[in-house]
Subunit: 336 residues, 2 copies
């Protein structure tokens, strides 16, 4: 096990990215995302991702020095062409104009196109909640998930995230995949030979299936929440796919063509300004939101990001720990 | 069993509403909603609702002649004060400005405040998809549902609906409660003494509970989809509650004060214009959405509204059927 301070973790990530030819802007932006994930206890969005990032680069599936282009599409719409780069710079490039438009109009949307995507959405939403904005984000991924009643991969794991600003404390944020479970969890069951819990997948006939290999190789994953989760996943395909002129998960899989690179697709972010909705009553109504959060916690339930914020507090003091094999793999990336 | 043509059903609904003192505008708007529900096989949003409508009126919990006021809040925001009336007139009053703003800005929102609400959201979304707009709607209700990990009613059944226009055919629309099941279903289990399926409710300690009476009287209902559904339900409380300066489900229950009237709260509708996102590429990308729908149906899965549209086709030819006891109750309302 290797313990790193957050600064050390960031320097390591930056060194690896620089070594593999990412532009300075990407080196900084990607490293910041990875350290945020590691810091918040989201290992799957942490430094481990560097392995996939380098693999994607080697497969020729990401532009390491892409420069995003911002388009002012309409009074309420920003579009950023990520030009084949990772999503971070495109988001950073479009976010200020999104915030301006949300403040001017009350609501605005940012479409990110042609990006390679691995970022947790909460990282992006936090930059909007810090500005006092309410925000919603979603994206397709690659086709792994069958629609309810179906049998073949069509939808992605399609995450959806929502952020609500809270005065003087960390925002209310949720960020979850609309698949019943992460694909990696099913892979782990395949390796261990353990049966899958009900509701994770179907076989090639669309029947409930607890055999991880059959789900991954012949059948498909399922969404969370039955037909309701399936409907939400379809919505994400539509509004972060055709609506913004970008790929559906099935099209993203075709683009990948078996290279197992990080997925290439678009993303939609919607921002709303409570100030424009509520005017001089904004504080009074945001206080009512606080009462809702208190009522949730007062009955022993957790707010969605509570565990993540606890990990953050720990990491700020103690740094982060990387398993030795991962640390060794990362050091090897540095020498290659 | 009584069979009525759609015209007869509408005339019956109108006569009852008129008899109880609703303004002409409400008589027309409410009857249209009820007949749409009955026609589409959604009996719970059909003529049966007249019983609750009259009860709500008698409890003094709805204004039968309210006149909605439209406010142009911001370039992307419309607000309609329903002035204590049912939501239909408020939606009708605000919808044209919402559509104009969505077309001008690419995205816009309509907040409906101070309304009594029983309408299925798909009825509203269809008027937006008919204009070629993509739309999303949600509202709180009254506190029946515990947050994941909790034990006491806090969230409403909080429906969320989404609509996507389709050239030359009925739109892609879903509209579902974020509760695991409708409250009425649990009431039916209480009456029959049948055990509830897992996942519908908890007892007063927050433990899974299959006893309908305990869930309704001491514990709480649950959301669909575990902590993910619970997070979505919290989002709906926030964006269709404090964000628009209106009640949360818990506050709506307090307002009701045991009168069992139809719920009083707000509603948020967001509209997006594909034309502004996609410009002259709009047809090409909407065709890709059609390919997604074909891929869903091609593997034997249903689109969310398919059953509803099939019922609509039948009803347009055959009319609708009301159970005799309901028909008798409705006729009694006419004579009172």
């Amino acid at each position: 096990m290797q313990r790193l301070t957050l600064v050390e973790a960031e320097q390591l990530a930056q060194a690896i990215l620089r070594r593999h030819g990412f532009s300075d802007a990407f080196v900084e932006a990607i490293a910041a995302t990875l350290v945020a994930g590691e810091r918040d206890g989201c290992a799957s969005h942490g430094l481990w991702r560097l392995l996939g990032i380098v693999q994607t680069l080697r497969a020729g599936k990401v532009e390491p020095c892409a420069e995003p282009h911002v388009f002012d599409l309409a009074p309420g719409l920003v579009k950023v062409d990520a030009a084949g780069g990772f999503s971070q710079l495109a988001f950073a490039a479009g976010m200020p104009l999104l915030a301006d438009k949300a403040r001017a109009n009350g609501i605005a949307a940012l479409a990110i196109n042609h990006c390679v995507h691995f970022s947790a959405l909460w990282v992006e939403l936090e930059t909007l909640t810090e500005l006092g904005l309410v925000a919603l984000a979603c994206n397709p991924t690659q086709a792994y998930v069958a629609p309810a009643g179906g049998s073949r991969p069509l939808f992605g794991t399609n995450p959806i995230a929502f952020g609500w600003p809270r005065a003087g404390q960390a925002p209310f944020i949720f960020d979850f995949a609309t698949s019943a479970i992460a694909r990696g969890e099913i892979e782990l069951h395949r390796r261990s030979g353990e049966a899958l819990p009900a509701g994770w997948g179907v076989d090639r006939q669309g029947q409930p299936c607890t055999d991880a290999a059959k789900v991954l190789d012949e059948g498909a994953m399922l969404t969370f929440g039955g037909h309701k989760g399936s409907a939400l996943s379809a919505m994400i395909e539509l509004i972060a796919g055709p609506l913004i002129g970008d790929l559906t998960s099935l099209e993203s899989s075709a683009h990948d063509a078996g290279s197992k690179a990080l997925p290439y697709h678009g993303e939609l972010i919607i921002a709303l300004d409570p100030q424009r909705f509520l005017g001089d009553q904004v504080e009074q109504h945001l206080a009512r939101a606080e009462a809702l959060f208190e009522a949730i916690q007062g009955q022993g339930a957790r707010l969605p990001s509570q565990r993540r914020y606890a990990a953050r507090e720990r990491s700020l003091v103690q740094g982060v720990q990387l398993a030795q094999p991962l640390y060794d793999e990362l050091m090897a990336l540095l020498d290659e």
